[in-house]
């Protein structure tokens, strides 16, 4: 295939509850170090949740941080880290040909809740409602903050795609590069979800909010005694380029994006549909021009909910019935559910497998749920499998959005 039609990843910037760069994140995934802690959530008290501790002011002034949002701050950190990692001379880049595409689960809840809270603290004085509320809550806000920070004049927007957001942001970046709309994409997913109480209360109302006396054990996908989702924030942004451009500047290339798919369940607001998940994975594999047996690592979405994990493992059993060499892991036991960032972050955690040949484990499985058994599941300890050529990353979301992304070792 023509190098102008091949899209590669040349930079990664991330922040997760257990790491603020790829190396730290990967080490903690291999070491089964959890990023989940107990935190005081407004009105609700102590809850298991994931928060990131990156330096907000590394790339942003205090004033602009105050004016913007946590989601914007995460995005700015990740975008700058990705550019730095890519080694590109960004000063010399035509900023009108740079696009910012960030997947989000939701946006604006943190700011809206805070305004309502402050109004109630001040005798319902509506005149205290901030003039910053609108720019903070428009749905392009996190991506827009990146353009303001980096003087990017190309397109920017977010992709509202629930918890499939991370994959969807990357897919959008790939598509815009293939269309020739941009020459460089900053694409991925971000989330500020653990800063809002509403998402905690809603999952609690659904009976799907993770809890445990030891917060590091709260998120335990596929475990028989799992009890829900540990809500986290985070972000992962990639520098994406055409292979032809990456070669021209002799860039370090992490991998090539060779397959992807997005589809819809069209069956329920919250309950997943394993048939559509199978179709999504197979569609991505078909686009990559490979077979299921070519996939070396499959990262499950695996959130830790009762029905979600059963549905997905059923889908994986069906989708990979003909593969004996695909190893399966998941990431949310370590970092909880980073919502719009989940897909992009979880992909990043597996990319080093191309060089070290190791599959990081899913953690916190004490007793594997008999309904969640899948072949070659890697849990609690890393597994050396040798040469890794293809990784498939699943990311699903409410309203029945499914996404699968396949990356290939670059050679």
């Amino acid at each position: 295939m023509d190098d102008t039609q091949r899209i590669v990843m040349t930079g990664i910037g991330l922040t997760a509850p257990n790491g603020n760069n790829l190396e730290e994140f990967r080490q903690n995934l291999l070491a089964c170090k959890s990023g989940i802690q107990h935190a005081e959530i407004r009105y609700m008290g102590k809850q298991a949740a994931g928060f990131c501790n990156f330096d907000e002011f590394k790339y942003q002034s205090k004033k602009l941080r105050r004016r913007g949002t946590r989601a914007g701050s995460i995005s700015i950190y990740c975008a700058n880290e990705a550019l730095k990692d890519s080694g590109i001379n960004f000063e010399a880049v035509d900023k009108s040909m740079v696009g910012v595409y960030l997947g989000i689960t939701e946006h604006g809840n943190v700011e809206t809740e805070e305004e309502i809270f402050q109004m109630h603290q001040n005798n319902l004085d509506w005149k205290l409602w901030s003039p910053h509320h609108n720019p903070r809550t428009v749905s392009n806000s996190p991506a827009g903050e990146v353009t303001l920070n980096l003087n990017i004049t190309g397109p920017h927007y977010t992709l509202g795609s629930a918890c499939a957001g991370g994959n969807v942001g990357i897919i959008q970046g790939v598509q815009q590069l293939l269309l020739g709309e941009v020459d460089l994409a900053l694409a991925g997913g971000i989330s500020e979800s653990s800063q809002t109480f509403g998402i905690f209360a809603a999952f609690a109302a659904q009976g799907a909010l993770a809890h445990h006396d030891d917060p590091t054990l709260a998120s335990r996908p596929l475990d028989k005694n799992r009890n829900g989702i540990a809500i986290s924030e985070g972000g992962a942004v990639y520098v994406l380029e055409r292979l032809s451009d990456a070669k021209k500047r002799n860039a370090k290339i992490y991998c090539e994006i060779v397959g992807y798919a997005i589809n819809s369940d069209a069956s329920d607001f919250v309950n997943p549909n394993s048939e559509r998940q199978v179709e999504c994975m197979h569609k991505a594999i078909k686009r990559a021009g490979i077979t299921v047996s070519d996939i070396d690592i499959l990262n499950m979405h695996a959130t830790g909910t009762g029905t979600g994990d059963v549905n997905e493992t059923q889908a994986v059993r069906v989708a990979f019935a003909e593969s004996s060499k695909t190893y399966v892991n998941f990431t949310k036991g370590h970092i909880g559910h980073c919502m719009g960032a989940a897909g992009a972050l979880e992909l990043a955690g597996n990319i080093p497998s191309f060089t070290d040949g190791v599959v990081h484990p899913g953690m916190n499985v004490t007793e594997l749920d008999p309904e969640c058994v899948v072949k070659n599941l890697v849990i609690n300890e890393p597994k050396l499998i040798g040469n890794v050529n293809y990784i498939l990353n699943n990311s699903f979301g409410m309203l029945g959005i499914n996404s699968a992304l396949i990356v290939k070792k670059y050679s």
Partner: protein, 81 residues
């Protein structure tokens, strides 16, 4: 409340709104916008904080009276009396 107290109230608010700025060397007689990186949204924040922290209301037509630290003190002092 003394003029100095009012001045300090305004300075504290500006310090929160423009946390990257050094507010200790402000010339009271010169325009705040000339000395600090403040825009119209920042002035809305100043008005908002006066209302939130001190229940002092500044109608829109009076916003120009907040141009300098000196004019802030002159305009706001009667409201803090």
């Amino acid at each position: 409340m003394t003029a100095n107290n009012v001045r300090q109230i305004v300075l504290d608010i500006i310090a929160d709104i423009a946390p990257d700025e050094d507010v200790t060397s402000i010339d009271d007689s010169k325009s705040l916008r000339e000395q600090l990186d403040l825009d119209s949204m920042d002035f809305l924040d100043i008005v908002m904080e006066l209302r939130k922290r001190h229940k002092v209301e500044v109608p829109q037509e009076d916003y120009p009276k907040l141009a300098t630290l000196e004019s802030c003190v002159s305009y706001l002092s009667p409201k803090f009396a």
